[in-house]
Symmetry: C2
Subunit: 241 residues, 2 copies
Amino acid sequence: MERDQERPGLRPIDMDSNEPVARRVFRELRRAIVRMVFLPGQALSEQDIADQLGVSRQPVREAFIKLADAGLLQIKPQRGSFIVKISVRQVFDARFVREAVEVAVVARAAAEATAAQIEEFRANLKQQAHAIDARDHGRFMELDEAFHRSIALSVGCDYAWRVVEETKAQMDRARYLSMPDATPLPRLVTQHTSIVDAIAAHDAAAAQAAMSLHLREILSSLPELEKRFPALFNHDIPDPP
Amino acid sequence: MERDQERPGLRPIDMDSNEPVARRVFRELRRAIVRMVFLPGQALSEQDIADQLGVSRQPVREAFIKLADAGLLQIKPQRGSFIVKISVRQVFDARFVREAVEVAVVARAAAEATAAQIEEFRANLKQQAHAIDARDHGRFMELDEAFHRSIALSVGCDYAWRVVEETKAQMDRARYLSMPDATPLPRLVTQHTSIVDAIAAHDAAAAQAAMSLHLREILSSLPELEKRFPALFNHDIPDPP
DNA sequence: TCATGTATACTACCATACCAGTTAGGGTCA
DNA sequence: TGACCCTAACTGGTATGGTAGTATACATGA
């Protein structure tokens, strides 16, 4: 048996593609970090990753820098690079920004969304229900992200969604941690439905309230997670630069 | 006379410092772009900048990539890197996100700010008035930024401020463009004062409304600027990747 | 046993060299 | 004169070499 099959790790970078190697390395690493393939606290070496992926150190270095900007990797000069531990403070900060942006977006959606777009949202909701029936948590998380994204893009808030995406990275690590037991997914679908209903009714205030409530509940299990996986969390205050 | 005195350009990077060269190059370039030392549309070469700053291409390249992420530079592989033209669409998108975040921040400030912090805000307001009396526009913009930052940091919204900083870069280029004639600065101080008053009264709704109004007016002169400096603006839709 | 100095094996950072793709200009040929 | 092609001089992307700093294992000493 191939060991790579059992433990996902990192697959070699797909050659013969126009896309810069550095960008693909970044995406692959980011995916691995968010999906907890690399655990918080773990050290990552430019040389190691370069060898595993079959590329030189240079693109790996560029990917490292972008990961550091995204708050997923801490580069300690002349010492090493480490997956940042999940910080409850940091996750809640990200949630705060995400709520601010998505609440503003959904208000615009309630004012501007067309019937066709609302139908699209509802179609996604049906798929979410199917994914739950099939016990396919990974699929549900993809649909969840697509749901929020489609709302933002439907009203032209591309840049706003880009900001949300960055904040999501922090939050999603915690969500992947809680995946097996799973937060009650049907409840999330109910909340999603409330959001769409408010948009369809062109009730901005209700849409904002529904989105706000939804985003506040997503992380309700965070304190419990911190107790269950203390090694993956950063409890103290971060050291200044 | 030194030519460097007349045309700011780029000064050589300060040696003997622990801070990574790449970061300093990034800051210097970002400052130059936001202050319109490099004009939108202008080509920037990694090699040129490296020579001007007295460093190698490597840290310059890293700075370029970060500038591209910030939406200030467009890197066209094998062709060149160009200061992105100001896009009205992009500036308004940034403004939308900034308003969403700062409105949420100021609501929290209205709920939590202490008397000492409010005094600090008012002290800044006085300095703003002095800067206007002294016709020191540059100083005013610094105080303006410090004002918004101090509100965010006073309630622990460090990450939120980081997001705002990114959005500000887009907006500030337009503001520097309108600097000489100047938007009516006393009006901005009045709006700032309204915000502080609402915070002091612990009236979250009023604070939100004041901040929202303030951020909407900042760019009221943007369409006029586009007419006066058409070469610096990007009028068409951006070409897909 | 414990504290301390030192050699070594890392790290990330920066400089340099090479590569492939693009562009612009000049010369050639119809 | 005009369309074409080829060459040379760029561009950014990648690979590699060298340097300074840090952590650690280990030997040495009290």
